[in-house]
């Protein structure tokens, strides 16, 4: 008689364990997995909704196509070296300068600190980078040029401003200016300038929601290219300052 409660408890335990293992456990684990999937799906849906909003903003942005064209010209996908020479000559001529010589050098990759880091990292681990990720070879490259011009200093300054505000990204690296005074003739001014025009083949930015958003700052950057290299407004001081320091005082 004493063993009867133990039997009841034993049978109950077996029944409960059977229900738990055969029904509740598989159902609970399935619900858990579905719940996780649901959470992930909700996050994806939220991201899609945000992407849709971003895309709608892009669709409604009347300036996008225009800014795309400007960006393509400013930092082209190819060298466009011929076009560069034409543009440099046109800018010089528009500023009444005589182009004595234009030399283009072999295009090269812009040396970057990140590249060096990437190189040292590659040395450390020989595993190749997974496909699709940006590689150092996809950085901006340069077409280097040298232009020799003659004219006046004022025109040269205007030419310099034209280059800095041109529709293509050009960086002047070195300048050598010289004036020669000849008897009974105005002072002759000549300059030699070396610089680099940039181009970039591929888009290296990762395709994510953040990189799809177009900030007003980005649009302004391309629409206001002319602000680069604008003359500065510095306070003058008595006895200093010359419009053409190469001219005789």
């Amino acid at each position: 008689m004493k063993s009867k409660p133990a039997v009841i408890l034993g049978i109950t335990f077996l029944l409960v364990a059977g229900i738990v293992f055969l029904f509740i456990w598989p159902v609970a684990s399935s619900i858990w997995q579905s719940w996780q999937g649901l959470k992930e799906t909700k996050a994806n849906l939220k991201e899609i909704e945000e992407t849709k909003q971003v895309l709608n903003a892009l669709k409604n942005n009347q300036q996008l196509a225009n800014v795309g064209e400007i960006a393509k010209k400013y930092l082209p996908e190819d060298q466009e070296a011929g076009q560069l020479v034409i543009e440099l000559t046109a800018m010089a001529e528009a500023n009444h300068l005589k182009v004595e010589q234009t030399t283009l050098e072999k295009s090269k990759e812009e040396p970057k600190k990140e590249e060096e880091t990437a190189k040292s990292e590659t040395k450390k681990s020989p595993t190749p980078t997974p496909g699709g990720s940006p590689t150092p070879a996809e950085k901006a490259k340069t077409v280097d040029f040298t232009v020799k011009i003659s004219g006046t200093f004022a025109d040269f300054m205007n030419f310099l401003e034209s280059i800095e505000t041109s529709s293509r990204l050009i960086a002047v690296k070195d300048i050598a200016m010289e004036s020669k005074a000849e008897k009974d003739k105005p002072t002759a001014f000549s300059a030699q300038m070396t610089g680099s025009a940039y181009y970039k083949k591929k888009v290296t930015l990762e395709k994510n929601l953040e990189n799809l958003k177009l900030a007003q700052e980005t649009l302004d950057r391309f629409f206001n290219l002319k602000t680069y290299g604008q003359p500065i407004n510095l306070t003058g001081e008595e006895g200093f300052g010359r419009t053409n320091p190469f001219e005789n005082y």
């Binding site: 800095e164 690296k173 005082y249």
Partner: protein
């Protein structure tokens, strides 16, 4: 009221045990039933969650296919942002020579003439300047003015040489200065030109 049980003690114990067992049994049956109901509710919840998940996945597939239609637009936005970032990086390193040279012009004393000016962005000294002036005082004035400028630093006087002038013309003091670049451009630029002599 006094309750008197006159049953023999053995029978009395058996009855108490039987009553206890009946209570235990009913508790156990209730427990099993509760677990059974829990299993049924779980099954129903599973079907609901799975149905909801399936609906959400279908919605994602549908929305993704809509998004891929705008692939070209996304690529264009990505291209513009990529070019903007690259431009920003390059512009940080770029020297805006028109601003630098204008600042140099503003620093020249009125009786100083440049003959040769070499400006290099990546090699020091960044500037090598040869010019003419009237007195050594003018060179010192020029050097001090350059040192005071936020664009230039490390101004070094290299040499000076007095050359005799021709008839009725004063002699010229040839000089050479070397200096480095401190700022590549000025922030908050304006489009107005400074009135200079």
């Amino acid at each position: 009221m006094i309750n008197i049980n006159l049953l023999p003690p053995q029978l009395k114990m058996r009855r108490i045990a039987a009553r206890r067992n009946a209570s235990l049994l009913s508790i156990c049956v209730l427990l099993v039933a509760a677990f059974g109901i829990l299993a049924i509710i779980g099954q129903s919840l599973k079907s609901t969650v799975e149905a909801y998940l399936s609906t959400s996945k279908n919605a994602i597939e549908k929305e993704t296919s809509v998004l891929t239609e705008d692939e070209e637009l996304q690529d264009l936005a990505l291209f513009v942002n990529d070019r903007s970032k690259e431009t920003e990086k390059i512009n940080d390193e770029r020297v805006f020579w028109s601003q630098v040279i204008q600042e140099l012009n503003n620093s020249v004393p009125v009786s100083v003439q440049f003959v040769n000016l070499t400006a290099k962005s990546s090699k020091t000294p960044n500037f090598i300047l040869q010019g003419n002036t009237t007195t050594e005082r003018e060179i010192i004035k020029f050097k001090e003015k350059l040192e005071a400028s936020s664009f230039f630093k490390d101004v070094t006087f290299k040499s000076s040489n007095l050359t005799a002038g021709e008839k009725d013309t004063p002699g010229k003091l040839q000089f050479a200065l070397e200096f480095n670049l401190e700022n590549k451009k000025v922030d908050g630029i304006t489009s107005e030109k400074k009135d200079i002599k």
